[in-house]
Structures are given as C-alpha cells and as structure tokens.
C-alpha cells in the first residue's frame, strides 16, 4: 500500500470511531482540516525545517491523539513521535497551536475546558501502517491488513485506555 492509502484508511477509521479530526496533513495535496505545525524547541519560526507536521490529529472523548501514517512500520516515525512526547516545549507548542485555531472550542469538545497542562498529559501517540505488528511501548499501533480490509488497534505497554468517542 502507498502512504496516501494508509492515510485515507486511517482517516476512515477515525470517522468510523466517531472521533474528531482536528488537523493534519495528507502525504500530498490538501485536506479540509488545518495543517498543524509543531515547532522545534530551538526554532520558533514558521516553516522551520525542524518543525513537525503530524499526519493526523484526533480528539477522542478523553484524549488527543497524534497519528503518523506510513505504508509499512517505520522506526523513524516512532522516534519522531517519541521526541515530541518527551519534549515539554514541543507539547506546549502543540497545544498552543490548537488553542490559537480554537480547534476544540469550535467543536464544543469537552477537552476544550481542560488546562494546557491537563491536555498535555492527555496527549497520546499512534503509528498507522499495514503489514505485521511491531510492538511499540507507550504508543498505539493501528495496523491494517495488506489489502486494507481489516485493522487491529494495539496498545503499547503502558497504555491502559481504549480509544473512544
């Protein structure tokens, strides 16, 4: 499968779960929702090479989910997400972007009532791909069958909660 196919399957999965897409960036072209840019610690300017634009940003009933899509399991994606997860300035930048766009407020989403600190603690990460499952601690893995007809959602070691609307 190609990256745009995984992106589309993941987006469809999000819709089927009745979750809210807040932002993201398809592999090519443009989608309806905004591109959210998470700037690096050192470079605060827009368009910086080290800034990161997640493929999909989703709000569940209790969490924010940052999803990276690739045709096959990609360790670089895991590292990229891990880097964000372990950097408080980048998580703050992420929440700041959502606040500036009023992404949760415009949807009257209950998460909009939470403080930035609380939203940071409720940010989760997910890698989406097709093929065999590769366990990743602290992250969800959304794994599609090679023909895209089936999927499985795996929880990383330390994740207890399911994804729900």
């Amino acid at each position: 499968m190609r990256e745009d196919e995984i992106y589309l399957l993941t987006k469809q999965w999000v819709v089927n779960q009745e979750l809210h897409v807040l932002g993201g960036q398809p592999p090519n072209g443009t989608d309806r929702f905004p591109v959210i840019e998470i700037k690096s610690d050192e470079h605060s300017e827009k368009g910086s090479r080290t800034s990161y634009k997640p493929d999909l940003i989703v709000a569940t009933s209790d969490h924010l989910l940052i999803i990276e899509c690739k045709p096959l399991f990609n360790f670089e994606d895991v590292s990229k997400l891990k880097e964000i997860a372990e950097s408080l300035p980048r998580l703050e930048a992420f929440i700041g972007e959502l606040r500036q766009r009023r992404s949760l407020e415009r949807r009257n989403h209950s998460l909009s009532q939470l403080s930035d600190r609380e939203l940071i603690s409720r940010t989760r990460f997910c890698v989406a791909y097709s093929g065999e499952h590769h366990p990743v601690p602290n992250m969800y893995s959304l794994v599609f069958s090679p023909d895209g007809s089936k999927y499985s959602l795996y929880f990383g070691d330390s994740i207890a909660e399911n994804v729900s609307n």
């Binding site: 398809p26 072209g29 905004p34 840019e37 500036q100």
Partner: protein, 319 residues
Amino acid sequence: MALQAFCDDLNEFSWFITLDHRLESAEFLRIGRRGTNPPVVDSLIVYDRPDVILVKDGKPVVTIEKTREVPTGHNVGQRVARLVRSVELGIPTIKFFPFDARKHGTHSSMCNLNARLLLAFENMWKIHATPMMAVNWPSDSHGELFEDESADQQLQELLAGYIRSGFDPNCKEFRQARVDQIAEYSSRCETYEAYGNPPPSLRIERTADVLRELGIASNSLDARKLLQKDESVVYEIGMTEEKCRREDPYTGTQFIYDYLYCRNGPRPGDKNRNLILYFPNIRQRVWNSKNPDDSTRKSSNWYLTASAHVYRDGWTFFR
C-alpha cells in the same frame, strides 16, 4: 460517459468525487511522470501539475487546483503557471482557495487575497476564451476555514451546473461566476485602492528609458525589437546568486503581471508591452547554470513568457 480523474493523490480524488454524485463513477488515475500519461494529460502538466484533471471520453474537461493558502504578499503567484497551461489548452480551470483566512503562528493575523489575481484570471479568460475561475473557500468570523461540507458548496454548485450542461464552458453557472469574479475584484479595489495599480516590485516605463536605465545599448538588433513596443513592464526579482535556483512563486507571478499589464493575445509573444524580468543581483553565467531552459526541468518555466531577462552583467532577448 467515461470519466477519469487524474490526481496526484488518492485523498484528493476521494474529495473530488464527493463534489457531485455524477463524479462518483470516475476512475482514479495517478498523474505520473511526464511521458507516462496519456498525451492530453502530459500536455497539461508541462509547466507543473494541477491537483485534479477530469477527463471525459478522453478529453480534459476541467482542471482544479485546491489550496488552503490565501494568495497574498510574496506568494500570490504560487501555482499560477499550471493554471495558465490549462487555459492555454482551452480547458476550463478552477482555483479553489480562501479569499480571506487567518494566518497562524507567532504573528497571527487575517490574510486577504491580492485582488490583482482576480483581474489576471478575468484577462486569461478573455484572451483564451476559456473559463478561469477563482472559487472561495469560506472562513468563519475568526478567519478559520470551514471544515465541513459547506466549505465546498460554491464549488459543488459550479460543477453541478457544468456537468448538467453537458460540460458546456459557456454554461450559466460559469457565466455567473465570471460576473461575480469581476464584482469581487471591483469591491476589493474599493476597499484597498492599491490593487487597482501595479505592485511595488513592478514598474511600467517607456522602453527607451528602461533600456537606458538598465544599461542596454539601444542599437543592437534585439534592443530594436524591444523598442518596437513603446512601453515595457519591468518586474524586479531580488533573488541572490546563492538562492536563485528556484521557480516559485516568481514564475507564476510573471504570468499574473503578463496578463495584467502586457498580454493582448493567446501566444506569449502577443503583448502590447514587453515583459522584462530584472535580476539585479545575479550574473548571467550563474543564472544560466542554475536555471537552464531545459524542458525536463521546472526552471524552463522562467522562459515561458518574458520578453527578456536582464541580469547584473548582461541580458537575453526571447521574444
């Protein structure tokens, strides 16, 4: 009728076919590298690749470009070359983008469309007798773009009318879009008068004065050809030699200025003023090595419509 939608991406295709129920049967085909597509598509992508090309019974019937960016400031010309190619080939063309939206970042503010683009589109329409339409992606009072189906409503209505008419470029929806486009231009010029005049990066002067200012001897054969047009438009591009291997947004902007201030016919040579691209910081040798007129490279877009290039130490006449 057999419909094919050539797109770069499955996501773009899946959006496009939701615009009208009669598009649901369209076959998805990826736009491949040049030389790998049907000739009608290859011919359309010689300047650059649009987002969607709808082909009906083997003939392109509409080209669509979609972007979340408001064409303003330096970036107004981005994506324009690919649209020009489409109208040059007589294919109705739509650019779907926000006229007004909020820019995010440290200095968040509202961005408004550079209205000159609308007049350039009208001139393209007139010159090529082919619809060239700007369709607004609406935003809310905070400047955030609509994200639900209502975002596409105007585009849907336009396409529905076009399809219903049997893909008649003269359908009433397109005619109305033209009226609206001109009205939008006038209304924006009333709000911001500067859009009724050339931008600061451009000057319109007598050709003889331009040649003198740029240090071009007026007795050469090429200079005499330029002098056949009384006036010239000089578009000054301040790129440095280190950063001159690029096209966007300048090669699109040159078309906007061409259609606004120079063009009077469908061929690049049909001009009532010369269009001179002036690079005051770049030597000719450096330019030629970094931006050759090589049809396999996007740098060839620099040579599509200008009358001449003037560099720090020389110049080249084209048409």
